[in-house]
Symmetry: C2
Subunit: 454 residues, 2 copies
């Protein structure tokens, strides 16, 4: 037979523990602060929003957390996910590099998001929660949560910014197929929403407003909780199954990565792939360069400051120490909606500050060009988010061609682009241009970041 | 660990031969006839359209055909495809039946169509063909051919009915990502198209017109050939890799099917899954019931006649002996576009006449109801075509619940529905109704079927 393309694991080889990188860091990340008192937030502060088990996971320093059997059962609908050797892309690039990509688009929702949606819903179901609320932008997270809720018989209510709700009907339908109830935000369901609609009946909404509506709905009813799809420690924890599987898969073909690249928005895809490799690096078992790739239009790590800031636009959440462009920062409307977040996961930010990972940024047109090369060689049409990782991977592979180095490059293809084809259509018809980043918009937005007492 | 959900094969276990069921039938299928002379069509008659290797495959009685290594290499981008045990659907239905589904939605184009697109393009490339033309309806076949052409550096030109071209922009973009050139049909590229546009500048087009344009373009230039996505013997041959894999996968868990159900449009998905099982049945190794499931709105096998008829609406192709509703039959615009074909593959028709397979039909609303049950339990959102097989599978599983029989049911989930979500939206909002089949429209259409001399 010819060259192996997919490195698979049997279901019996699927990891049964998530990995908590905090256990192996030289120092723990700074704690979240209560937005009023600026004192470290206690478990009780989070109880109206999250079930006790997830708050425990948010704060624990245990190295490994067992994955419940009920969660593993649902994971087996698509996990272990395949690791691909990109033979055809390597050939196209004429590179001596060996490129591997871990593909998370095989999940029912088409991205890595169900890796955390499923356990979040399960832990809520164990504590008697009747309904989960959340917000969604393009719809990746909302559809993942709706899928997970269908698996455990929990209701799911999703607020989606009115502009996205109207312009992205495919994802809304996906949420509805899985039984989710989707509202355009601002909605008439909350007082806040009604107030905004009274001011402007055609309000386009925003992710920040949608968060506020979802949070309010959860806080007001003790049988309802809220779910978040990125940024928090427990979310990154659940995603580490990606990297744990990739470690086993690379071991099967006797490879260790020289460089690992992942796209970063909130940080959960990147953390999920990289943390198990960081553990191995800290233990001296391998020495990959680990690199975050972010959009030039939303350069949280490369141009943001490491400060305590709010997680949401309205300033309702606990303060988190993270790389931020200021919680009022509104990035250009690039198509990688999942990377348009003003901050970076506190855990990824902390690790970046410790010098354990690097960061770089790429332009949107370069991402789409890379995506077309990828689709024509490897077949899969990538979601706009991972095209950033693909662009950085291709860059690295081209450097190997120049230097003749046979580097092993590992990246994460965190989702397919089947519901993002209008973005490709715009690119192919030449409608997408890169805009210069307005540095003054960051300066302006940073003024909204609270100044804490020493 | 818990119950196994996916039965996988290693790439090294992938079958390396396609299976030609003709070799094992008690009598060969009637030959195609030249449309002018009504004499059996010769290889030369097909040469302007297809390369010699595919014409050879169309006519051969050899039992096995080796799959070229270059084709296997591309297959490995997604093959072997997974076989799922539908534990969660079984639980939902509370049935003692054991349900297995072979999932072809893992291909880059999202359906089983690349199984034949890839070898068709490869054989053309070996005979120096510069460009392939084809028609597409909803876009499944066109996108599969564009993907395959990108793999072997052949140009791809696709005619899509103008109405679909305008209303289904997602699939058009997919074709363009893979480098395909897509024209709305009627187009200004052909004399036939220009004539129709002169009569009606807003002509909505049809699959029949699109076929005519693609065929004309191929016939006029010796460096151009035409490709067809279903119906013909060589297409069904290439699809048998589905059934060959499923046989190996079921053997791994020690199962043989009691009943096998597949949806039938042109017949390639059904033939691909069922022919290897039919071989085993004819050899006395197992005794599954094998059942075709077709839409009640286009009941080729259950209400059509077994006659020589044209493959296209315009009556340009060779005459094929098949179950037909008459080549002028225009089914209601149901959402399973891939099943809206007036005829059935001659090979499937012949096998049905021999009494080796059964046929049944289901209503569209029953299909969508089944699809929602499937999506909420198994996760995957199915394409509208395989929802017919899912509906029939659920019916059978419910019968098992009544009788207490632990039957093994095997079906094919031939594609995902990510680009068919508008159809689901219509269903969920109650806009889809089943219409009574207009029997007189069949009677009328059958008048167009040529009457041959005895």
């Amino acid at each position: 037979m010819g060259q192996q393309t997919k490195i698979l694991l049997e279901e019996s080889e699927m990891p049964t523990k998530w990995y908590n990188v905090i256990a192996d860091l030289p120092e723990p990340p700074p704690p979240p602060l209560h937005p009023g008192t600026h004192q470290p937030a206690a478990a009780d502060d989070l109880a109206p929003l999250f079930p006790a088990a997830l708050i425990e996971q948010e704060m624990t320093a245990e190295r490994y957390i067992n994955i419940p059997e009920e969660v593993l059962e649902v994971y087996r609908l698509w996990r272990p996910s395949p690791l691909f050797r990109a033979h055809r892309l390597e050939k196209l690039l004429d590179t001596p590099a060996r490129i591997y990509y871990k593909y998370e688009g095989v999940s029912p929702a088409g991205s890595h998001k169900p890796n955390t949606a499923v356990p979040q819903v399960w832990y809520n179901s164990q504590e008697g929660v009747r309904k989960l609320t959340t917000e969604t932008g393009a719809g990746q997270w909302g559809s993942s949560l709706a899928f997970a809720c269908a698996q455990f018989g929990i209701e799911c209510e999703i607020w989606q910014g009115a502009a996205s709700y109207a312009s992205k009907p495919y994802r809304k339908t996906m949420m509805q197929i899985w039984g989710g109830e989707v509202h355009p935000s601002p909605s008439t369901r909350t007082e806040f929403g009604r107030k905004l609609l009274a001011e402007d009946p055609d309000h386009p909404g925003s992710l920040g407003i949608a968060i506020s509506e979802a949070v309010v709905e959860a806080v007001e009813d003790p049988s309802v909780r809220y779910a978040l799809g990125s940024v928090l420690n427990h979310v990154l924890l659940h995603q580490t199954i990606i990297g744990e599987e990739a470690l086993l898969q690379l071991a099967k073909v006797g490879e260790t990565p020289d460089i690992l690249v992942g796209c970063t928005g909130g940080g959960s895809n990147f953390g999920g792939l990289s943390f198990p490799f960081l553990r191995e690096k800290l233990a001296g078992n391998m020495s990959p360069i680990i690199r975050c790739v972010e959009p030039a239009a939303c350069p949280t790590l490369t141009k943001g400051e490491y400060r305590y800031d709010f997680g949401d636009t309205a300033g309702l959440t606990p303060l988190m120490k993270m790389h931020t462009l200021g919680h009022r920062f509104i990035p250009e409307p690039i198509h990688a909606g999942g990377l348009r977040y003003h901050g970076m996961a506190p855990l990824v930010s902390h690790i970046y500050e410790l010098g354990l990972v690097e960061a770089t940024s790429v332009l949107q047109t370069q991402c789409f060009e890379a995506a077309i090369q990828f689709a024509r060689s490897e077949g899969i049409v990538p979601a706009p988010e991972p095209t950033h990782a693909i662009a950085a991977t291709i860059d690295e592979a081209k450097k190997c061609k120049e230097s003749g180095e046979e580097k092993v490059i590992l990246t994460a293809l965190c989702g397919h682009g089947h519901l993002d084809l209008p973005a490709y259509e715009k690119f192919l018809s030449g409608e997408i241009k890169d805009l210069d980043l307005a540095e003054e918009s960051i300066t302006e937005s940073m003024k909204s970041v609270p100044v804490l007492a020493e």
